[in-house]
């Protein structure tokens, strides 16, 4: 089959919050949004608890406090120029969403309702503050729908269920992408001046995760394969309260409303780990506390979970403020959170690292922040970095919107100035070869590997050796395992040889992305000999600012090996301090 060619000024890869926000800000230009899911199926729609902004609707609040909390939450690894933008622009972003019709929950006087969330405080750490703007516990759903609605209004052009397989560069400029139309197996070449990667997270590198099946790190891997480094991949957030075994998220908003954690002995163990913020301490701290309790045998009934207790909140609060999670608990556990505590365990949730960008969403490729013209990234697949070593709840929704908008605007400027670079020769060849290998398998009759088996092994080993607690030994082991899986991936052959909606093939492609992302995650984690935020090394339990107050960059060299380098952290207002809650 011949590939179909398209020409646009700008192509956006991903129809989640970041991609759609950029699209709205590019409306009127020649822009196409490519998404492997229908945009309304994107993972932004699962976000529950809220979006942080210092509106001060319930009590006094200031963007400086929000900025400070974000920097402290990041264990001082966030770039403070970017964090300042995040906290300032959060406020106008929330008002813009409201003006677009987002149905926020309301205060009695008709303003946007706000609730408490982990790590968000007043007066630089004194006490929890009401900062998270919410629409019940389906804030992400309402954000995603509102943005999609604005795209409909602005007649944005969509290519739904298109899986992007390759990023095209010509010399040192961006030239477009190659995508597979999943419905019919047709290859498409999108020739464009600018490309935005907005493909979301990569939680599926782990076994227990809150992330959708589709979150396989595609944009990160596409960038890596094109020679772009990935920043701070060793920092992966485990959310303390996933439903036992399933990993489905119970929003921090449940604790924001007053929910409490108890171990198997009925102790409110957070009193020992974070005496001021207790159950509203940041996620890295609570997840570690839970793991410690579990390892000491303080799980409930000797099992690998603790209890999240909402009972004292009463039916009214639970059913009106947390209706969705109530439904999840009833459906999947068959228990009622109004009368019973919820079994929870930490679940892989959020990638702080990703494709490095500047504050305009432009991808930067080295220690000196050299821009790769025409390439942009925003949302969870990007690393600006506003979250540093640990993201605070409600800050990802801010991030995807604030930097999605900035990326969209800068792309608008760029496509007005730049020339369309020529396409590389035979632009679809690499993508075609990848699909052919996965369909036909290696050299004919050789023993074929199965996608599911390799993926299971990857997820299990990553969970075991590169999650909440890590050691040099566990990481060295899993590094070898991931490398071996990469070898075996070359032997994969799918069962489905058709072209019509071949999800077997889609999953095989996605496994390749997962392996690349996992490889960088482990490499960077092994190198970082300190503990900071979500990256906790039992063999190096202290933060070490002298040696490690710096961002990692992991790059694939021409030989195929991974190479790490580092760049400094931007510090403006807040000097690093010991992080206590």
């Amino acid at each position: 089959m011949e590939a179909v060619y398209h020409r646009y000024d700008a192509v956006i890869v991903g129809g989640g919050g970041a991609g759609l926000m950029a699209a709205v800000n590019l409306a009127g230009q020649e822009v196409a949004v490519l998404s492997k899911l229908y945009p309304v199926r994107s993972h932004t729609g699962t976000a529950q608890g809220g979006i942080g902004a210092a509106l001060g609707n319930v009590e006094e609040d200031h963007w400086e406090w929000h900025m400070f909390d974000t920097v402290k939450g990041s264990d001082y690894l966030a770039d403070q120029d970017a964090t300042e933008i995040l906290a300032r622009e959060a406020v106008e972003t929330v008002y813009e969403l409201e003006h677009w019709g987002l149905p926020f929950s309301r205060t009695p006087d008709g303003k946007i309702a706000q609730r408490r969330f982990g790590g968000h405080t007043r007066e630089f750490g004194k006490a929890p503050v009401h900062r998270s703007c919410y629409a019940a516990d389906r804030t992400g759903h309402m954000i995603l729908q509102t943005l999609y609605q604005q795209c409909i209004k602005n007649r944005v052009k969509f290519f739904d269920e298109y899986l992007v397989l390759d990023l095209l560069l010509e010399g040192q400029r961006t030239a477009g992408v190659v995508a597979l139309s999943i419905a019919d197996g047709q290859l498409h070449v999108f020739h464009a001046k600018a490309v935005l990667l907005a493909t979301g997270g990569c939680g599926r590198i782990y076994q227990i995760t809150s992330n959708a099946h589709a979150l396989t790190g595609d944009g990160m891997a596409l960038a890596l394969r094109a020679g772009v480094p990935l920043e701070d991949m060793e920092f992966f957030q485990f959310h303390p309260t996933g439903i036992y075994k399933l990993g489905i998220l119970i929003t921090e908003g449940a604790r924001g409303e007053g929910g409490k954690l108890f171990n198997g002995r009925g102790e409110r163990f957070m009193e020992r780990y974070a005496p001021t913020l207790l159950d509203l301490a940041p996620r890295d701290i609570i997840s570690r506390a839970i793991y410690r309790e579990l390892r000491q045998g303080h799980g409930v009934e000797g099992k690998w979970y603790v209890h999240l207790d909402l009972r004292h909140l009463g039916r009214e609060v639970i059913e009106t403020k947390l209706p969705d999670i109530t439904d999840f608990v009833r459906t999947y556990l068959g228990i009622d959170p109004i009368t019973e505590p919820i079994p929870v365990q930490p679940t892989a949730h959020y990638a702080m690292g990703g494709v490095p960008t500047d504050v305009s969403g432009r991808v930067v490729v080295d220690e000196k922040n050299t821009v790769l013209p025409g390439l942009y990234a925003a949302g969870e697949c990007a690393c600006v970095s506003v979250h540093g070593a640990n993201r605070l709840g409600t800050n990802s929704l801010v991030d995807i919107l604030v930097f999605g908008r900035r990326a969209g605007r800068d792309m608008g400027r760029y496509v007005g100035e730049a020339e369309l670079p020529p396409l590389p020769a035979q632009p679809e060849e690499r993508a075609r070869a990848l699909l052919a290998r996965l369909r036909e398998g290696p050299n004919g009759d050789g023993r074929a590997e199965s996608v599911a088996a390799l993926r299971d092994e990857l997820q299990r080993e990553m969970m075991d050796k590169a999650s909440v607690f890590r050691t040099g030994e566990s990481l060295a082991e899993v590094r070898e395992q991931v490398r071996a899986l990469q070898e075996r991936y070359q032997q994969v052959r799918v069962q489905d040889r058709g072209w019509v909606f071949n999800t077997d093939l889609v999953e095989a492609v996605e496994l390749g992305f997962l392996l690349d992302v996992a490889e960088v995650t482990v490499e960077a984690a092994l190198a970082r000999q300190e503990s900071r935020g979500a990256h906790y090394r039992e063999d190096f339990p202290q933060r070490d600012d002298v040696k490690w107050l710096k961002h990692s960059l992991g790059r694939r060299t021409a030989s195929g090996a991974l190479e790490l380098s580092y760049k400094p952290v931007t510090i403006t207002r807040f000097q690093p301090q010991e992080r206590k809650y």
């Binding site: 899911l37 229908y38 309304v40 199926r41 994107s42 993972h43 729609g45 699962t46 509106l55 929330v94 008002y95 409201e98 003006h99 677009w100 019709g101 149905p103 926020f104 929950s105 309301r106 205060t107 009695p108 006087d109 008709g110 303003k111 946007i112 629409a135 019940a136 389906r138 759903h141 309402m142 609605q149 604005q150 409909i152 209004k153 419905a183 959708a212 099946h213 589709a214 399933l246 489905i248 969705d324 439904d327 999840f328 459906t331 999947y332 068959g334 199965s450 996608v451 599911a452 799918v494 069962q495 489905d496 058709g498 019509v500 909606f501 071949n502 999800t503 077997d504």
Partner: protein, 232 residues
């Protein structure tokens, strides 16, 4: 426990007629049907096609006909389905492959109701005010995840594919009853047109089918009432 899955299969451009395939999987009673479908796809037959993403009932990818009723595969547990489970694609949408159906026309109808806030007035510097009661007025219909379960369970839609269908009406309801929206008259024109709400025969299949528990028939009834009164 062991469960038997009977799955209706078809591939566009290849099969003339749909056919049934049977699979047996070992599973826990508390597993989702989606887990059983994955067990088939990952370890028995990679050619089986279905959509899914979130796996907990919020993205709207995996609505299908399960033991004769529309459900999300990720939101129904095996223990509630018995040991022989029949799985088919939703009715009334063209099948692309197996459980994957064509959504383009469905989305077109969604666009037809102009699903975005229409407020001509200049917004204030901060938020527009809305009381909790005004917000509550349309809360139910904000839950819609566009999965298609309601529309494809509706006999009126089966007999007239041009009918807007419950999902699009639910989305229109969400704006019609939003105190901030200023386009009531325009919206009522679209909803009152030939293939609008009057095609609804109040059969309640849609309400039963909705995985989000939206009272769909009631919402449609409220739209009908607004049409009769000429205001919301």
């Amino acid at each position: 426990m062991k469960v038997k899955l009977r799955i209706k299969r078809f591939e566009r451009g290849k099969d003339r007629e749909p056919y049934w395939a049977e699979y047996e999987v070992e599973a826990e009673p508390t597993d989702r049907l989606l887990d059983a479908l994955h067990a088939v796809k990952w370890y028995q037959d990679g050619t089986l096609a279905f959509r899914r993403s979130c796996a907990h009932g919020v993205c709207g990818s995996d609505a299908m006909l399960i033991n004769g009723v529309n459900r999300l595969a990720c939101k129904v547990l095996l223990k509630d389905l018995g040991q022989r489970i029949t799985v088919e694609p939703m009715r009334g949408f063209a099948v692309i492959k197996d459980l994957v159906v064509e959504f383009d026309r469905f989305m077109e109808k969604y666009r037809l109701v102009e699903p975005y806030l229409k407020a001509g007035s200049e917004p204030p510097a901060k938020e527009r005010l809305q009381t909790p009661e005004e917000r509550e007025r349309f809360d139910d219909t904000t839950k819609c995840i566009l999965c298609g379960a309601c529309t494809t369970s509706c006999p009126s839609f089966w007999s007239n594919p041009d009918y807007l269908g419950p999902a699009a009406i639910v989305q229109a309801h969400r704006f019609l009853f939003d105190s901030r929206d200023e386009a009531t008259a325009e919206r009522l024109v679209v909803l009152g047109a030939r293939d609008g709400v009057w095609r609804c025969r109040t059969i309640y299949n849609c309400t039963d089918a909705c995985p989000r528990g939206i009272e769909v028939t009631r919402a449609i009834g409220e739209v009908k009432k607004a049409l009769l009164l000429g205001k919301r």
